[in-house]
Symmetry: C2
Subunit: 333 residues, 2 copies
């Protein structure tokens, strides 16, 4: 380990980054969370459409994860209205959007809220381009536009395989994200949904090159479960191949994969959505990265929020287990 | 002046208290702003109806007035949405209401926001009773229920005189308000609309007795202009009589009245609403209080906010002039 505090950059979306950052912030490291900006559903989508702001939801989750303020304040930012015209909005989303409207700058909004929440580290949107939408082309020649539409799969819908993902129009890489990656010692990609949380970062123009050229060790944290309509039947190697298609080959230095089987009750809950544990098939696969297999999970039954129409997964990476593994890797490398 | 910092309690609503507090906070005094809780229109009314919270608008104005934080944060709290489903809401109102929902307590919400806004002093709701409505009986035997309905007068509506004002159901005095008044050195009543800002405080059960028994010097700051449908044609003495009807006689020690004539353009703007400067007829009136006549006004043309359906007055007390007069009185008494 270097004598000065190592610089870690995480790349992802809201929920996955929340997990990794919540654990990592307990260690003596410099943290920068790079967050995608393509959320167009739910509270974020409504604010984006109505106020013309950037989607605040994923940024909010990262800010709360890095917060060292009182539980009351952190809970406030995650507070979700369950009635009236504000129903479905998170308070923190409204806070971010209001500050962005008032100051005319998402960057300033993040800085101000960072002060109020007393955050450890930085939250950096991967881009400030508001118009970029995530699109995927399917094997049947059809295209799905918009993160929400990609995310939501009708029950019993047999969606063809995704053959290509892209941003339309293309998005410009935020200079602050570039600088953070350039000076990073470690880059942690994931956890998070491959197509809707991870790739929207990698698809930003110039991002693969900046990551590749960074002297940082690159870590990919594999998801625990497949995601219906996106990574159905994907094994570990399929995830990595899909990532490498956009990131480039021989970029990753470490791959973290969970080796603890989730509980049966949890698996049966997932199976109704045709989602299964990501199978570890990396043993036979020739590659240039180190594979780290550990118990990384936390079995949780999340309360289904009645006003949230989006389904939330009930199994998560354990933020402390994951952060410990990352920190041990830092110490030993 | 006593050697310790004098304790000042202001009693009023949003706009008037904002004016007095903005000036008073610059002096070495302990400030407590007691605020009425009967606002049932606009952003406050919507939040009250939809979330079942106390009306936040007047509290917000007092918090911002007492804030010693950055202009950015103060502006944020007053930020008013002009589009989308949040149109007409002030961000600060949403902030207060969310915290009240989350903590289950307006008192806690005020404390937390007070920290964020770094306020000098305290903001104390006169009551925490949510169901109390302001009602007025008119000379024609009709009753108007609800602050908004009392406040809004149709053009050319000839409303009969108000003969009685009351809260229905009656409201319980907040213990913190009681304590602040008991230990106050000075109580400043007003400025603010007599029926919709000042009296809703005095009408709270037990309030007149607590004020009367306080050793504090009681100051009444007379309004600058009459208010259509409420104090039409009221002279200074009419205001005081109406206040004394509920507060009791021989309670006031000082009455502040502006002696500078507003500009003609301003007066003609008001005359379209049948509103006129409050005439000073106190010279011939036998009473037990001291009358302080000073230039207390600031001629301002407020931009009419397009999303705010409520009319705002364009003439105000000058917060610095008013605070200086109050502070001079404190020093000399």
């Amino acid at each position: 380990m270097k004598s000065s505090m190592p610089k870690i950059v995480t790349i992802g979306g809201g929920t996955g980054s929340y997990t990794s950052l919540s654990g990592l912030k307990k260690y003596p490291i410099h943290l920068t969370a790079i967050v995608n900006m393509i959320d167009d559903g739910g509270s974020s989508g409504r604010l984006r459409d109505e106020l013309g702001v950037l989607p605040p939801g994923d940024v909010r989750q990262c800010l709360v994860a890095l917060s060292e303020s009182s539980k009351l304040l952190r809970d406030l930012f995650n507070y979700r209205f369950e009635e009236g015209e504000l129903k479905g909005h998170n308070f923190g989303n409204i806070f971010l959007s209001t500050l962005e409207k008032q100051t005319g700058s998402m960057k300033k909004a993040i800085t101000e809220i960072g002060k109020i929440l007393n955050i450890k580290g930085k939250v950096v949107p991967v881009t400030f381009d508001k118009k970029s939408k995530l699109c995927v082309d399917l094997a049947n020649g059809k295209t799905i536009e918009g993160e929400t539409h990609i995310d939501e799969v009708e029950k019993r819908e047999k969606r063809p395989k995704i053959v290509k993902a892209y941003l339309k129009p293309s998005a410009k890489l935020n200079e602050d994200a570039k600088l953070a990656i350039k000076s990073a010692d470690y880059i942690v990609i994931g956890p998070g949904d491959l197509f809707t949380s991870i790739l929207p970062n990698i698809l930003v123009k110039g991002m693969p090159k900046v990551i590749k050229e960074s002297k940082a060790k690159k870590i990919y944290v594999l998801n625990l479960m497949t995601k219906v309509g996106q990574t159905t039947n994907f094994k570990a190697s399929d995830h990595i191949k899909a990532l490498e298609k956009y990131l480039g080959k021989n970029v990753l230095d470490f791959v973290f994969i969970n080796d603890k089987r989730p509980k049966k009750t949890v698996l049966s809950w997932y199976s109704q959505y045709e989602e299964n544990p990501v199978e570890d098939d990396l043993g036979d696969w020739k590659n240039n990265f180190n594979i780290i297999r550990k118990d990384l999970i936390k079995d949780v039954i999340l309360k289904q929020n009645p006003v949230d129409e989006r389904r939330r997964s009930i199994i998560r990476h354990d933020s402390d287990k994951l952060a410990l593994q990352i920190f041990e890797l830092i110490i030993n490398s």
